[in-house]
Symmetry: D2
Subunit: 342 residues, 4 copies
Amino acid sequence: MIRFESDYLEGALPEVMEALQRTNLEQTPGYGEDPHCENAARLIREKCAAPEAKVHFLVGGTQANFTVIAAALRPHQAVIAAETGHIAAHETGAVEATGHKVIALPSPDGKLRAEQISACVEAHWADATHEHQPQPAMVYISQPTENGTVYSLAELEAISAACREKGLILFVDGARLGAALACSDVGLPDLARLTDVFYIGGTKLGALFGEAVVITAPALAKDFRYIIKQRGGMFAKGRLLGVMFETLMTDGLYERTGEREVALALKLRAAFEEKGWPLLYDSPSNQQFPIVPDAALEKLAAKYSFSDTLRTDSAHRAVRFCTSWATRPENVDELIADIKAL
Amino acid sequence: MIRFESDYLEGALPEVMEALQRTNLEQTPGYGEDPHCENAARLIREKCAAPEAKVHFLVGGTQANFTVIAAALRPHQAVIAAETGHIAAHETGAVEATGHKVIALPSPDGKLRAEQISACVEAHWADATHEHQPQPAMVYISQPTENGTVYSLAELEAISAACREKGLILFVDGARLGAALACSDVGLPDLARLTDVFYIGGTKLGALFGEAVVITAPALAKDFRYIIKQRGGMFAKGRLLGVMFETLMTDGLYERTGEREVALALKLRAAFEEKGWPLLYDSPSNQQFPIVPDAALEKLAAKYSFSDTLRTDSAHRAVRFCTSWATRPENVDELIADIKAL
Amino acid sequence: MIRFESDYLEGALPEVMEALQRTNLEQTPGYGEDPHCENAARLIREKCAAPEAKVHFLVGGTQANFTVIAAALRPHQAVIAAETGHIAAHETGAVEATGHKVIALPSPDGKLRAEQISACVEAHWADATHEHQPQPAMVYISQPTENGTVYSLAELEAISAACREKGLILFVDGARLGAALACSDVGLPDLARLTDVFYIGGTKLGALFGEAVVITAPALAKDFRYIIKQRGGMFAKGRLLGVMFETLMTDGLYERTGEREVALALKLRAAFEEKGWPLLYDSPSNQQFPIVPDAALEKLAAKYSFSDTLRTDSAHRAVRFCTSWATRPENVDELIADIKAL
Amino acid sequence: MIRFESDYLEGALPEVMEALQRTNLEQTPGYGEDPHCENAARLIREKCAAPEAKVHFLVGGTQANFTVIAAALRPHQAVIAAETGHIAAHETGAVEATGHKVIALPSPDGKLRAEQISACVEAHWADATHEHQPQPAMVYISQPTENGTVYSLAELEAISAACREKGLILFVDGARLGAALACSDVGLPDLARLTDVFYIGGTKLGALFGEAVVITAPALAKDFRYIIKQRGGMFAKGRLLGVMFETLMTDGLYERTGEREVALALKLRAAFEEKGWPLLYDSPSNQQFPIVPDAALEKLAAKYSFSDTLRTDSAHRAVRFCTSWATRPENVDELIADIKAL
């Protein structure tokens, strides 16, 4: 079985494994207060052109999401997300478990629009009984989204402006940020400038695990480590995260990893289009969603794994193919050849 | 600096690193549903003589603690712990953040007594206004405790009997369980037989990270994976935990690791006693708490790290020395020589 | 100003005020453990033909809702409601504040259909990643709904059957239950027979305040008073609730109160229809939602209050007129005359 | 049976009942946005010499406590209380249910000392691992305490100064504040000046129910109504609270009520002392705690109710006698005569 069902099927990049091995017997203090974390944070601040930003390393995405949201909101406040957003759809109500409602807005492609956000907030304040509803106070978006789509710089600037006008915190989930860096005009300094908090995903970009949370809003940074600890994200051997992120942030490894996986995904996309399979979402990143005849899917499934997205009609399904740092080019070529031969 | 301040200063056992390297490019499904997790769970069930037990792998101890407690208790219920217990003293109110009170009972040595537990529960029910107080419904103990002490089988049996008589869930935090296995008469089958849920710690016993939660009570096992996900403990590359635990659970590696660290700690203990330094707690495990004259501490601190526990009088402090899987015997010998020479 | 904007504009029925005055200097134990609460509970069990039911008196509807839900659900479970349901739309995220997601289903009239519920639950279990989503475990409906509509006995039986087939708890919010009793074929014994828990609203039916929660499912009844206390609903002078409910439950006062307010509302409805004003919802109960030309609304607003529901087009708004136990027939007649004269 | 077991055995003062009856058919908007609430708030601001304070009316004490605490604290923060404080001992973990730890400090008489508070906070910050512990951020005290004792102005000023020095919010539970006003040198303007938030209890001072929360700290006042609603404290017929508090706050009724009940309690105290019964606490307020021989208690119990506090030795118990607005002087005289005759 050649697997394309997700981008977390393997372990870590060779460079990352090598760094873990090399530092294995070093003795360092725990809980992220070690020289590797310090160095990784410095490298991230530099890449983000954000010398004042606070950088914290968490183990996973769901954990990063609810930790940031719990730290940021007062009890009556809610977070706006696309209805397909990870916090709305795939975290078992983790945000609600911290006490906050997720206000899920419709989206055809996984992206929120600045006008949607403004309209949602204006409707809240215009309602005479707004005190009887959770107060929208934060916007959560993903770059790229769950659908593989990415925000352009113009779109992100518009969202950022809307948030600042309305007094909302802007939070960007970058679980697959490396892919977006390779296919959008939004760079790390843009994220640091336009958001209050975002994270640079490691789990899906060549680390064994780990997300680097970058906080630029001082109010949000205050006491953040207490909340990491309280929510189970304070890693005893925190230096592992430091070691992995300093590796990823050195010599452009993180960016190259994103570029590589996106290039392979776009080869797949071209093959789908050539075959006449429409795409459910217009994704420029490492997740591709072709709409495939059932008969073709059945044949492919004997040799390849992919994930099921939705049935589009009685004879077709949309499915997801992911590439990652570990995807082998020869496997992509083999899949393309098999598609052509169908 | 030679470090004895904690037992999570280094990475992982060579066998563990080798296994991670060896399996690095395997493709497996995520979220703990892979053959390595399945195999590790099987090995654990065998060692525990608990063929029906459910085994889940979580990333860290605080996370394991609050996930188990949140899964087990109804909203009005509370968990009993020693006032020095990790959930009472060192988790930033993580249990309270799930909505539950920790009923902290005094303990001279970190251990709870069966009679204490019974008395606490009886006092609750005897109070005419007990509905105005959280209902004790679970007991949390650690093996070994934060103070290095361990429960004997007789003690654990008494606690288990008290819990069953009173209808309480018994939960054992085994973050350092490998050390306890090496110095108490309580084995894994005893834990499985006498408790409702416990965990086998990996973070402090040679894994990079990870705790194996063993659930023997069926009511507690139901839907546990939902709660892991909701609380941030569902690891995307869950197979890493499987790989590490199948390594630890093979050929007695886990047990040997505990024996080795305990043997080194007892050498240290003997040196402290020979020097005439009293021990704050009578610990047979890998944490030792000598009470040391300030002048001696000052000299040692130039070369060794240890952690501060408390000031016992104006000229002495109790400090903690830990050994681990990574402690080098020659460093222990050097420290002992330096103590003798003081 | 003659007010029709809500059904909680005045104090309490004369009979209720008289009973409070008559019992004012009685000395009773607190917290609902007094003879009046006992007697009121007995009367309710009789009316419900539910001799085993547990009855608890809470102060208000939001409190009753989140207390019942918090008592019933495990942390990963969610409650299904219509998107217009009170818990979804008008409680400031009170249910989320207890940690649970509200799964909001669309509804044209405020009612859920049995098939919707079944489909939602089946979709959950059919999803391979259902552990990454909150588990639907309870259904919340209101009788009557926020839109004034009511469930027929056949509809409620279908919902009850769907819930029992799928293992869901069925909870009915009866904040305005008196109105529904007057205009549907669902009686109190039906509610007791078909649901797991429901409440009989007092605040909107002639009491100063108070809701009588009737629990027929034994698992839900266990330890419920602890949770009332924890969530702020344990009333010190609980006997006030007992006194008010024993008054309402005597000599058919509760039922008569509902009949009276519904009769007045239906007079209003006939006048709206005669005037050619369409109704936003087909409500047989004490809330009526005519769609009114702006010019007419402007004139009415000088003399009458009503609440705004939504703008239906550029020249019309849907508004809500409520009747209550305190609505004076002559005020209804005056409003009808003024409408005719427009 | 003549009852002295608590101060919430009866309904409300005649003046309060009369005001409720008089306003019963008034039509007012709901949720505390009516002229009576406005007027009551104005009267309270005047009495407190706090023209900028925000005043909110809640139904009960537990609700007021957790609503204020939830509104004030970030997730990692904790509230300091005496171990006998109501939030620590008698609210079924309501504060923990909002996610926050109660740091319970020992107290011989129910009062906290300024030095205790300072020491607790200093110990937190001095601990190198303070991020692993909940951060003390608020102090909760009661005036009078559960033990009947009261803070002097000097004591309250010292506590206030300590809180301001350490950056803690000071919150005073005044469930029985009327009693304290009658027997301490702390007035309402002192409370407004020295605390961030406090409440004026109505339930135990002649109202049917209700607590008036006075917020002087602007950060705490922001969005407070959302949180009241979310936590179940937004009363539909909020004007009932307004009517009751404007009655209590007019013509010195509240103060007179406190004076009257304290005077009766002090008569009882004198009788206990004359009889040679020691007092468990040196209470100048409406709760008295004599230590009584078992034989005497047994005789008294046939005619009088009181509440049990604790067994002090094999032949004596400490019990509590309460007076209230409704206590009849002739009943106090009868009790005193019966004590003398024992």
